[in-house]
């Protein structure tokens, strides 16, 4: 493979422009029909009979890892995975057998702001898939036995992740950047938090946070509305709102690092050093979105980006280098990451800092702006090609209270970017003095190369947690 797979495309789905409008005829995203189930659950439906398959996507607002009690880090992730491990009618093996038998894919997972449900199946199996999904969502057993299995699997999974420095650096970065802020809670939990976790804490999280009035679903594929409505009423329509006041569903303002926070993680057998550097980004729907998206494309979001050109194409220091913008309702995060041989990490970081400074000071040429614009516009259509990508777009746009013409507005805005607007985005967003930088590598070799950047906190990869 020539390059790492397209974070750019994933990103495009998240980078949305401003303000909400009522859903209407949209150019990029076909108009979906909206209806609300009797329990308050909102559904969007689009029929597509090209292939005999159907996809469903759901988001449950406030059921993500950022809403866990601080003492129960990992509760959201465990709730999501345990919901699939048995109901009062089907045990875990029966659920797995039923899903595998259909060849369907189905999952419940915790993001930061919400829990999400995904399912894809042949049209003939879709009713059965939704029935099983509804069982998991409304009637999970949370048996002590399954809880113990899942918890111990998660602990071992986290240890195993540390054998791969490329994934380990992300965990360390999330912890170093967000500290005790809820956005720093790992959906997987940590070795330490999982040790004290109880099945009671998981159950309580589920009871408080999985609510139909905070759930949005979208169904796209080979199914008629006349069939879909009764199917959903009889399945996910059974989700009930818990009594009592609803828990919070907004995340506090994100932390902003002051000065340099440097963390070195020693992995003595690593032959490459992996870094991740990050600083505040922008919130979903922020008016800077189009310019920031172009800036990211040019700086580190595509193959000929500045980062990849300088680090890979010109110098052969690495297989891949890039930047990424994550956006949430409460704010965003802009990161830069790459890896190289241990003895080259100093050279690599020097180049990264030079490029960050140059982009913020000088911006990009008119030709680069045109190229970035063409690239974003040209690569957009495939991001909505599949049933599942359309369903995902409906639930995300609805979650962030944006209209279904949001992509049209975003792309129009991209059409209007200028060297000045992109330079302004670079100056506002690219980390200069205030950032968090994490490096995972062989400390004995790289420590001397890193000393010039400041004082590093050090951890051993074998220390529990991140």
């Amino acid at each position: 493979m020539r390059r790492l797979s397209g974070t750019v495309l994933a990103l495009v789905l998240f980078v949305l422009g401003a303000s909400a409008l009522p859903p209407g005829a949209a150019r990029q995203l076909p108009a979906a029909e909206k209806f609300v189930l009797k329990n308050g659950l909102t559904v969007y439906h689009l029929k597509n009979s090209d292939l005999p398959i159907v996809s469903i996507r759901m988001v449950i607002r406030g059921a993500g890892s950022a809403f866990e009690p601080a003492a129960s880090e990992g509760a959201a992730g465990l709730a999501a995975s345990l919901m699939m491990k048995g109901t009062s009618k089907m045990d875990a093996d029966a659920i797995a057998e039923a899903l595998d038998f259909m060849g369907a894919s189905f999952g419940i997972a915790a993001s930061e702001e919400y829990a999400q449900v995904y399912g894809d199946s042949l049209a003939e199996h879709f009713p059965r898939l939704v029935e099983i999904a509804a069982g998991c969502l409304t009637d999970p057993a949370f048996s002590a036995d399954e809880f113990e299995k899942e918890r111990s699997l998660s602990i071992d999974g986290l240890k195993s992740a540390k054998d791969n420095p490329g994934s380990a650096v992300r965990y360390y970065f999330q912890k170093a950047y967000f500290g005790g802020h809820p956005m720093g809670y790992l959906a997987s939990g940590t070795e330490t938090s999982l040790k004290t976790m109880t099945v009671q804490a998981v159950k309580e999280f589920y009871k408080k946070h999985f609510r139909p009035d905070r759930t949005i679903a979208a169904v796209v594929g080979d199914i008629d509305k006349a069939k879909l409505v009764p199917l959903l009423e009889g399945t996910i329509g059974r989700m009930a709102n818990p009594a009592g006041t609803a828990p919070p569903d907004t995340v506090p303002a994100l932390p902003r690092p002051k000065g340099r926070k440097l963390l070195l993680v020693d992995k003595p057998d690593a032959t490459q050093a992996y870094f991740m550097l990050g600083a505040p980004g922008y919130a979903m729907g922020d008016k800077v979105t189009a310019a920031a998206s172009a800036m990211n494309t040019l700086f580190g979001g595509r193959f000929t980006s500045w980062l990849n050109t300088e680090l890979r194409i010109k110098r052969g220091l690495t297989y891949g280098a890039g930047s990424n913008a994550r956006t949430w309702a409460a704010g965003g995060l802009f990161t830069v990451s790459s890896y190289t041989k241990n003895d080259k990490i100093g050279e690599m970081l020097d180049i990264v800092f030079d490029l960050l400074g140059k982009a913020a000071k000088e911006g990009f040429s008119a030709e680069e702006i045109e190229s970035g614009r063409n690239y974003i516009l040209g690569q957009f259509p495939p991001t909505l090609e599949m049933n599942s990508s359309k369903a995902g777009a409906y639930v995300r746009l609805a979650f962030y209270k944006l209209g279904f013409d949001q992509y049209d507005k975003y792309l129009d805005e991209v059409g209007r970017i200028t060297p000045a607007s992109v330079k302004a985005a670079a100056a506002a967003l690219l980390p200069q003095a205030d950032f968090v930088l994490v490096v995972v590598g062989k400390a004995a070799d790289i420590r001397p190369l890193l000393a010039k950047y400041g004082t590093w906190q050090e951890k051993k990869i074998t220390d529990p947690g991140f």
């Binding site: 493979m1 093996d93 038998f101 894809d120 042949l122 999974g157 240890k159 690593a270 194409i313």
Partner: protein, 441 residues
Amino acid sequence: MRKRAWLPILFLAVFTLSLSAAFKKEDVKVHKLDNGLKVLLVEDHNIPSVALYTFFRVGSRNERPGLTGVSHFIEHMMFNGTPKVGPGEFDRRMEFQGGRNNAFTSDDMTGYTDWFPPAALEAMIEMEADRIQGLSLVPEVFESERGVVASERRLGVENDNDAILNENVRATAIMAHPYHWDVIGWMSDILSWRRDEVMAYYRTYYAPGNAILIVVGDIDPAKTLGLIQKYYGPVKASPPPPPVSTVEPPQMGTKTVIIRKEAQAPSYLAVWHAPSAKDADYLPLAILAKPLLEGESSRLYRRLVREEELAIDVGGGIQETVDPFLFSINVKPRPGADLDKIDRVIEEELAKVKAEGITPQEYAKAMNIIRNDFYMSLQTISGKAGQLGSAELLYGDFARLFTVMDDYAAVKINRIKGAAGTYFTDNNKTVGKLIPEGGAK
């Protein structure tokens, strides 16, 4: 084998029971230029985009010691300049016109995958035709790209314990055939390829008769064919590349690989020699892989992860390959797990399959999984292009895509037991264990 970045397993492993009315053999327009280039065109206006895929019949199976990994290196160098399009220009021009690309190399083939808006069609065809007619291999760029590939190897193999084990087990199981080495190649070869031998290799395999060009998407087929004739027509035909003649000799006893290194968790991988994609035993083993290994209801996931709690995850199966390769079972053991016990559980489950085969329920499940995966892959223009290309490369005919359903349906359930008995023998097996030293318990 465990998925590696440079193996295109994602769309090679997927096949079908029935094809949709929405995609038929008649939708594929087939042409062959005088110089031997085969062209497949599919008009699909679902989105305003085009997928242009070029597959070459060259992969690591065509390499030799000293030149291992060179197929993959040429894949990289294809973006690094021709006499007409300078180093880096391919990507710059393509991205300027709103296009994006990727490429992959496997044991059997090299593929170039372009996605772009319809307006860029002519420019893309011109640049694709140009880069099969001669690469510059500028020395400084050659050296820089060598560094990139070395980094890719450090990323994909040296800093990934499962991949280290995988490479060792493959090289132990396969003694003579070029599948002995991984697609990325040995580090010492990566560091010593010479420009002249790379150029000779490129000239041998990058010829119109050794390639297939597939265009799917928002195109006018007649106009597209005209552009292909204009730019590819003048490309000279070349003699066919030499065949791969080495045949792996029969294995004569179980082989074992033990690796001791710093790690938090152990790794486990067992492989058995397996038939090529075209062999009659391929489909029975492909069906068996589903109830044995795929999903949480599979026999080995249940035993190893759920019941005995020895593992975090289980995977593997059989790959579609030109020459006989391997059926693999890879296990991510839990830290501290007894690897010999994992091995015993696997042997117990294989013994059951050999004695009793699989159940009708498991057979139906396998067919549902295969059908579901297939339709999902046909949702996109890239999925269609990839499926057509791999069918053409592996089976010699893209139309295989539209009949493979009958082949699957014709596999009687008792054939699975028979195939398991033939291949899952002690003499056919290589088992690998990576045992952690140091690190936390």
